[in-house]
Structures are given as structure tokens and as C-alpha cells.
């Protein structure tokens, strides 16, 4: 029966290794939702164009992640994109006149929202809207504008 | 008298594809006796055991074992009935991944809740009966053919069956292990109060231990009776079989065109 015991130990090790690997994947490789179902408050933003922004994209301030994009919808009255972001509750001192822009991380990376702090003593609260926004830069439009200005210079 | 009959095969017909294996076979196995089913190779003797065990279904006819019609039983009832039947396969069919001890313990562990020390004692007793108590820790691959068959025999009687079925127990054995098996089958039959069915084509050995012999040929029982009766049979066929003559009613040549025709035909 000693052989049986060795087999049991090996199987125990195997199962433990499997769960350890899963745990490793959860903690080290992915952003496990259990630890960051962002406890926080929702703030609204309107953009002319969200470009390639997707739900769950990061929201950063000075490069530090403070929240995530919760949803992206179309406001059918203004035909603007209505973006809801969730800011973690520990960042509760973000000035009301903060501005937001959509940037791309790296040349081909994913898009995210960067917040630029304003200067008032009033802080954002749940349900507020950030009024100052700068939508995503669409490459084709940029090139078009560049070409037009080149043409004007020539004249 | 009727309660004396443990296995009653009536008007059995069985076909495998186009080939007719049995065509109206009647066999009765009586309590306490060693009954032998004999016949040349390919007469479906093994098939008969599988039909009795309920592993195959007949095309016609009934098989009654211990008062139950085998082929009308549900799965559970059939399994309960099989616990009272032991079967020794030609190959032994030992579980290659289990030791001799665990092989014999297998049916005990599967079907009883006996504590391990008791199983240990029972297994050693069964192994003692076949003379292999000392081989308990060997693996089946380390056994000779005769030893493997004896272990399989110990395993088959582990649950103290009422009926033991032997499939070609003597095939491919050297004279010594053949002798051992011959006496074992008879001894176990009498000592444990079993009834035995031996399927074989080894005439001499089988005649030594059988109380009654059925001779099968071409899907029918051609002769039955005690070994002495069969020796005096006036059927040429039975005589050829019992005395192992090379030619007779069963021709030496497989049927086909005559030799002359074949040879001349090839030249054309």
C-alpha cells in the first residue's frame, strides 16, 4: 500500500500545482475583477469622437490609473458620445474643472482617458459631468487638416 | 428431478452474421456433476458459455440458470445471477495491472464490504487451494501460462459460486500443469459442492473427470452420455473424435474442387 500512498501524494502535488498556476495567472498576469470591481463613483463625459475607446479602458491622471471606463453610449439628442467612467472612491479630491482627453498608449496601443486636473476647490461627485473634453484624434482627419494648411501656405 | 438441473438449455439457436453456430441445441447441467461440452474447434463451445453467462443473446430458444431465464432478466438481476457463476477464461483474463493477490481479492472487494483482514485470509485460502499462496505478490506477467490459469481459477471461485464454467482449461498446457488442472477441477467441484461445465476438445483429460459429455458438431448435439457410453458409441463421427483419427466423417481436406481439377485448371 506504500505505492498507493506515493500515487496519492503525486496527485495531490499535481492538483496543487494546477491551482497554484491558476492563482498565479489570476494575481500576476491578469487584473482579477474580484480585487478591482472599482468601488467608486460614476462621472459622465461627452466627446465628439471616442475613436477606439472601449469599456474597461483605464482612466488616468498624471499617468496613474484612477478608474475605468464603465460604458460608452450615444446621446441621441446631441449626437455626442456619452462616456460613463468610474473613479475609485479613494480619489475623491479631483477638481470639478478637470479636463479629459482620449489618448493612445504608444503608437498602436489601446486608448485611454487622461484627466488633467483643474484648479477649483470644488471636487467631482457622483453624477457630475466633466465639461472640458478633447475627443480622440483620428489620423485621417489630422492628415486632412495638415494637407489643407499646407495648401493654404502655398498660396 | 427438475430441481436437480441447474442449467437448462432448450432449443438454442444462434447465428453470427450468416454463419449458423447453434441450430437447436439442448444441454442440461446437473447439480454436483462435471459436465463436459466437447467438439472440434470452431463449433462455438465458447459461445455457448457466453450465452449461458448472458453476454450474448440467442436468436431462438431459452437458457434457464438456477431457475431464471437468463435473457429475460434485467441488468441488475443478471448481475446478481452472475455472482453465483464463476468463469475461467481461456486466456485467464487476469487484470494485468493488479498483483496475484489483488486479482483474487478483486471480486471480494467489488461485491462485499468485508474488512481487509478477512479478505486477506479468504484470498490466501483460495490461493492455497490452487497451490499458489507463495506467488501472491507476483504480477500476472511473471506467471507461466499454467500458473496464470490457476490464479484465474482461484479468482473465479472467490465468491463461492454455484456453477463454475471452464473455457478450454487444458488448451496449450504442458503435461504437468494439464494434470494439475485436471485434478483441481475435479477436486474443487467435489470439495466446494460446485457444479462444473468444462468446454474442451482435449478428449483424454476431459474424459477423466467428466460425469457426462455432450459432443457438439455443426450446431447440434450429436451424442451425449457418460465417457464410457461415448467410447462405445456406434457413430463413426464420435469415434473419430474420441479416438482422434485424422480422417473419417470429418474430412482431412477442406472442401473444394479436386486436386486434379485445380492443377489442370491453373494451366489453362
Amino acid at each position: 500500500m506504500a505505492k498507493q500512498r506515493i500515487i496519492e501524494i503525486w496527485v495531490g502535488l499535481f492538483v496543487a500545482a494546477g491551482f497554484a498556476a491558476l492563482f498565479g495567472l489570476a494575481m500576476q498576469v491578469s487584473n482579477i475583477p474580484v480585487f478591482q470591481t472599482t468601488e467608486g463613483y460614476d462621472v459622465y463625459l461627452r466627446f465628439e469622437n471616442v475613436g477606439g475607446l472601449r469599456p474597461r479602458a483605464p482612466v488616468t491622471m498624471s499617468g496613474v490609473r484612477v478608474g475605468r471606463v464603465k460604458s460608452i453610449e450615444l446621446d441621441e439628442n446631441t449626437y455626442q458620445a456619452l462616456v460613463t467612467i468610474t473613479i475609485e472612491s479613494r480619489f475623491d479630491r479631483i477638481p470639478e474643472d478637470t479636463s479629459a482627453s482620449i489618448f493612445t498608449s504608444g503608437l498602436l496601443g489601446e486608448q485611454y482617458i487622461a484627466l488633467d486636473p483643474g484648479g477649483t476647490d470644488w471636487f467631482l461627485e457622483a453624477g457630475d459631468e466633466i465639461a472640458l473634453t478633447q475627443g480622440a484624434l483620428v489620423l485621417e482627419r489630422l492628415i486632412g487638416r495638415f494637407l489643407t494648411s499646407m495648401g493654404q501656405d502655398d498660396n | 428431478m427438475a430441481s436437480d438441473i441447474l442449467v437448462d438449455v432448450k432449443d438454442l439457436c444462434f447465428r453470427r452474421g450468416e454463419r449458423v453456430i447453434f441450430d437447436g441445441v439442448d444441454v442440461q447441467i446437473r447439480k454436483g456433476q462435471v459436465t463436459a461440452i466437447m467438439g472440434p474447434s470452431g463449433t462455438g463451445k465458447t459461445t455457448l458459455l457466453r450465452l449461458i453467462g448472458g453476454q450474448l443473446r440467442p436468436d431462438r430458444g431459452t437458457i434457464t440458470v438456477l431457475g431464471h431465464d437468463v435473457h429475460r432478466l434485467g441488468r441488475d438481476a443478471l448481475f446478481r445471477l452472475r455472482r453465483r457463476m464463476g468463469m475461467l477464461f481461456q486466456s485467464g483474463a487476469l487484470f494485468t495491472h493488479l498483483s496475484v493477490f489483488d486479482n483474487v481479492a478483486f471480486p471480494l472487494r467489488e461485491h462485499t464490504d468485508l474488512p481487509e483482514p478477512l479478505i486477506h485470509d479468504l484470498v490466501l485460502m483460495k490461493l492455497q487451494a490452487v497451490g499458489l499462496r507463495g506467488a501472491r505478490d507476483l504480477m500476472p506477467s511473471e506467471l507461466s501460462g499454467g500458473m496464470a490459469r490457476r490464479v484465474a481459477l482461484a479468482r473465479a471461485v472467490a465468491l463461492d459460486p454455484t456453477i463454475m464454467m471452464y473455457d478450454e482449461p487444458f488448451a496449450g498446457q504442458d503435461p504437468i500443469s494439464m494434470g494439475v488442472l485436471v485434478s483441481l477441477i475435479r477436486r474443487l467441484n467435489d470439495a466446494l459442492g460446485l457444479s462444473s461445465v468444462v468446454v474442451s476438445h482435449d478428449v483424454v483429460e476431459t474424459a477423466q473427470i467428466a460425469d457426462r459429455i455432450y459432443v457438439l458438431s455443426e450446431g447440434r448435439v450429436v451424442e451425449s452420455g457418460s465417457p464410457g457410453d461415448l467410447g462405445r458409441s456406434d457413430s463413426a463421427w464420435v469415434r473419430q473424435f474420441m479416438q482422434a483419427l485424422p480422417d473419417g466423417p470429418v474430412p482431412f481436406h477442406y472442401p473444394g474442387p479436386s486436386l486434379e481439377e485445380d492443377l489442370l485448371g491453373a494451366r489453362r
Binding site: 495567472l25 500576476q28 | 487484470f95
Partner: protein, 258 residues
């Protein structure tokens, strides 16, 4: 011409009858699963021969696949100055596709073929028949524990494969390719989602484990009881499992990530 048509017809009927037999067989095996509850030892034994004995090939392949992915990915990404995303590339490829699929293919070759050969040989040597005559149902006693063990072992093996692959990629990227340590992990973490990527990969490998063990035990049980029949069945196990895994992977990917 008619000969060809007849052949096609026969093959089609043949595959249908195999599929039918396979399904019935699976149902019987599943019905046998509850009888394993009081006897976990049977499953542990099989987890050993299916899972533990496959570990070596899984560990080695996992590390090497990860390292090769890192080298190849780096060469492409560095052209765009995006070598920071190497971790993302490796992790997503492994978790979503390579982990489950390559593990299943290796499983078919290592454990599946062994299962088929073992059951086929038990059939050839009348062990299954003998078991039936001892009033023990071989589907409950032999097939069900193997099916369950295969189903349980596959996701564990796949997770180990992916994890070690990422570790192998990490070593190559950071130690030899000079990717920034922090960027490697942080980019990965922000791009890899636990439920979307990790769990979907695990679900994939559960499906693969189920199908691969089903095919393996069925081919063994259905094998012609000759040595030639068993060797043919073993080959069929590897081929059919590989095809089934690749086909199912396409379907699952379309459903999960499409």
C-alpha cells in the same frame, strides 16, 4: 463510379453508427459516475496515470513555447517600438489559444493514446469480458474513472502550461531581450482580463478534456480485439482528438471572443 458512391455511402453510414454507439457509450459512462463517489481511489489512480505522468511533457513544452513566442514576438513588435507589449502578446496567445489547444494535442498523444491502448488491450485479453462475468460493469469500473480523470486533468495541465509559458517568456524577454521588467507585467495586467481571458481558456480546456477523454475511452472500448485493431484504434484516437480539438477551438473562439 457506383463503386465510389457505394464507398461514400458506406463510410457515411459507418460514421453515423459510430457516433451513435459513442453517444450511447458516453451516456452509460456518465451514468456510472455517481458510483465513483464512494471510491475516490479509482479516480486518483487515473489522475496519476493521466495527469501526473503527462506533467513532464507539458512542463517542457510550456516553457519552450513561451520562450519561442517571446523571441518571435519581439522581432515583430520591436519594429513598431512596441516591445513593451510583448507580455500582452505572449499572455493572450497562451491563455486564449496555445495553452488549451497545445495541451489538448499533447494530451491526445501522451494520455489519450495510452488510455485507448490500455482499454483496447483489456478487451483483447478478455479482461473486460471477465469483469462482466464477475458481475462488475467495466463501464463503471474501468471507463468512468478514466473519463472523469481526463476531464479533471486537462484544465489543470492547460493552466500549468500557460503559466510556465508566460514565465519562460518573461525570462527570455527581461533577461536576454532587455524588455523592461515592470512594463512587461503592467502592460500584461492591464490587457489581460481574468474572466474574459483566463477563465475562457479554462472553459476551453474543460471542453477539450471532456472530448479528448471521451474519444480515447470509446476508441479503446470499441476497438477490434486484436493487436492490429488496438493499434488502429490508438492511431484513430490521436487523429480524431486532434481534429476535434482544432475544430471545437474554432467554434469556441468564435463564441467567446467573436
Amino acid at each position: 463510379m457506383t463503386g465510389l458512391l457505394a464507398l461514400l455511402g458506406r463510410k457515411t453510414l459507418d460514421s453515423f453508427s459510430r457516433l451513435g454507439r459513442g453517444t450511447l457509450f458516453l451516456l452509460r459512462a456518465m451514468a456510472g459516475l455517481p458510483s465513483l463517489l464512494p471510491r475516490p481511489g479509482l479516480v486518483i489512480q487515473q489522475l496519476y496515470s493521466i495527469g501526473v505522468l503527462s506533467l513532464l511533457i507539458i512542463v517542457v513544452s510550456g516553457i519552450f513555447v513561451g520562450m519561442v513566442l517571446a523571441l518571435q514576438g519581439y522581432n515583430t513588435l520591436v519594429n513598431f517600438g512596441a516591445e513593451q507589449s510583448l507580455g500582452v502578446l505572449v499572455a493572450l496567445s497562451l491563455l486564449r489559444e496555445l495553452g488549451p489547444v497545445v495541451t489538448a494535442l499533447l494530451f491526445a498523444g501522451r494520455a489519450g493514446s495510452a488510455l485507448t491502448a490500455e482499454i483496447g488491450l483489456m478487451k483483447t485479453t478478455e479482461q473486460l469480458s471477465g469483469m462482466e462475468m464477475m458481475a462488475v460493469d467495466p463501464i463503471k469500473r474501468v471507463v468512468a474513472p478514466r473519463l472523469l480523470a481526463g476531464f479533471l486533468a486537462m484544465p489543470l495541465l492547460a493552466v500549468i502550461f500557460s503559466f510556465l509559458g508566460i514565465m519562460g517568456a518573461y525570462v527570455v524577454s527581461v533577461a536576454t531581450l532587455g524588455v523592461d521588467d515592470g512594463a512587461f507585467w503592467s502592460q500584461m495586467q492591464s490587457a489581460v482580463d481574468f474572466r474574459e481571458d483566463v477563465m475562457n481558456g479554462v472553459i476551453k480546456s474543460l471542453v477539450f478534456g471532456f472530448v479528448a477523454s471521451w474519444i480515447a475511452v470509446f476508441e479503446g472500448y470499441d476497438a477490434e480485439p486484436t493487436s492490429e485493431g488496438v493499434s488502429r484504434a490508438t492511431t484513430r484516437t490521436v487523429v480524431h482528438t486532434s481534429l476535434a480539438v482544432l475544430g471545437l477551438d474554432f467554434v469556441l473562439t468564435a463564441v467567446m471572443f467573436g
